[in-house]
Symmetry: D3
Subunit: 136 residues, 6 copies
């Protein structure tokens, strides 16, 4: 079994906000990340899949296939969008990196399986100093 990772990026606006809490509670909990006029990030996404090597290709999965899956089904939904308002798979979620990573996993899992590999990890970095990882 070999693990293959593809890196992609997207740039989005968001804010951290729990609608069940007051404005003051949101501010206390999330600080400047709750700014109601939004802020944004260049997110860096690493998608790791695993599988056996196909002897005909020498590959677990064609990186062009993996990249196309990620771009067509994830990046196209997130890039240059407002994560709180414009992304169907994040509706009703607080747009923390944790929730975005889980949402990305759920979009990708069936598509990666169809392409003959298994999901291993979604790693999402919001800044150069922090990232989350989800293994399903």
């Amino acid at each position: 079994m070999v693990f293959v990772t593809r890196r992609e990026t997207f740039s989005s606006a968001h804010r951290l906000f729990n609608p069940q809490l007051s404005a003051n509670e949101n501010l206390e909990l999330f600080g400047k990340c709750s700014n109601e006029r939004w802020h944004g990030h260049n997110y860096v996404l690493h998608v790791t899949v695993k599988g056996e090597i196909n002897p005909q290709t020498g590959m677990v999965i064609n990186l062009k296939t993996l990249s196309a899956i990620i771009k067509n089904h994830v990046i196209s939904q997130l890039d240059h969008q407002n994560l709180n308002e414009e992304v169907p798979f994040l509706q009703g979620k607080i747009t923390t990196s944790e929730n975005i990573a889980i949402g990305i996993w759920n979009v990708l899992q069936p598509l990666v399986n169809q392409a003959g590999a298994q999901m291993h990890c979604v790693k999402l970095a919001e800044t150069e100093n922090s990232y989350v990882e989800y293994f399903g």
Copy 2:
């Protein structure tokens, strides 16, 4: 003469939009960067100043001083803000990297001079694949 550079970062929302043009013209000109619900970036800022070395300190400028000037007067205005709506020195400007860099220069120049050095360059990277430089 020696050149000294300090690197700082900020994360902001913005959109590219010229209010004198129609929605369609903005879309044609700026593409997805004109999305009315905003997007955002982790901006990376390099501020370069120049001067003679002070023989008492061995420095052109104390990097703590330079960093404090940048943080207190620039980062505090930009970080986790909406560049189109919340930044006084960008009011009425299209928030391209070019205009942000010039605005930063104008804020910093008198403060750097007061600290005994001269501005040389503001370099601003919006993504890992592009940046602008302004030399006054």
Copy 3:
């Protein structure tokens, strides 16, 4: 379960030296790293914790909390210090990356538990070409 990583840096002096060996044996074992007048590094530290997502915050742990724990209890002890002489949790240890990483883990584990998460990994890079990882 989601994994959350915070990156911090510190700059310190150290030398590799085993007091139970002779100067020649130290030199043979550690080479220039045993220089008695010290050398130093910009260390890069990644602390990874894990836990369930808190539904009220959408987070495993608030990154500000995690960063404050690391800065107040680890970076404050290591940054701009001599690792051999000035760090209580390294007293009597050879200051290899392996031993520093274990020391950092031991400082952080109870504090991360109090903050509601579990330690997963301490990764410590001494140079751009090497790093160690400790999982407890």
Copy 4:
């Protein structure tokens, strides 16, 4: 148990090509990577080994030893070479990152064991946007 990683690089030419398929099938499968006049990469290799800390050295393995093993037995075979034509351990293999990583593991495993540690992972990045990992 602590994990220790050494990073090395090499620059090589290769092409993706399965001799059991026609030129058209190779082109369809591998695209421009099958160009018969070759292309090349700056490969980045991370070798991770694991073991107990030796109390005399404070180390799992001396990084100089690990680096020498990798350079003398792997980099020397790959750097500034044609991976399809000049590397004994890749003869008859499609030179995908997956197969190169497995080949590197097989070369290193006995040598790392002789040095008193165990192989944990070979990570090989062909570009800044993709990498593979093999754990044996």
Copy 5:
């Protein structure tokens, strides 16, 4: 005047070889870089242009335009190609970074001028430890 830089990458095979010298002279001069079976690199290209800001767009040049010029006229000729054998603008040249950078400048200059900006610098990095810059 503002300077705008776009970063692009390409992966190519090449060798350093002067046909007017003997095989031994080439080996002495270029070392392993003269290997007749080729090697290769992930080249990183920075193209810097300069100009006045267009008040309608807030830009010196639309980065999409600049990126398209570089991709359609430079990257398409270099990526996954053999620089010695397949690149018209390098025919008869020793494929050092110096000569590649000058060749790229000559291709781009008229196109950048047509797009309303002026060329300032072509920076080309062959490895993470070396690069050349050409200013025309």
Copy 6:
């Protein structure tokens, strides 16, 4: 004229200290950087030289030559050393990046000239967030 840059690194201990000032004045001026038991950094050095391309080699200067000059005359004096106590060309200097960069320039200039090129810039980064440049 083409500009060629070589990147090298060194890891050293130092402290910022002006012997003509009191301990308190040093502390006020340099803060934790004046710690009398030292701290250290992984310094990153970029040396840029310029010249005409030699038509026989296609190069301004052979990068192996430039790297050897830097390693043999600069890195060998600085790496794993105490910059305040063990480096002849820094004796009597406050070991700021500014003074180290000028010292490196003075060592390299005659050697680069002998090798047929001219010095253009010494860039020295003490941390990932700051660097100095000296152009002679």
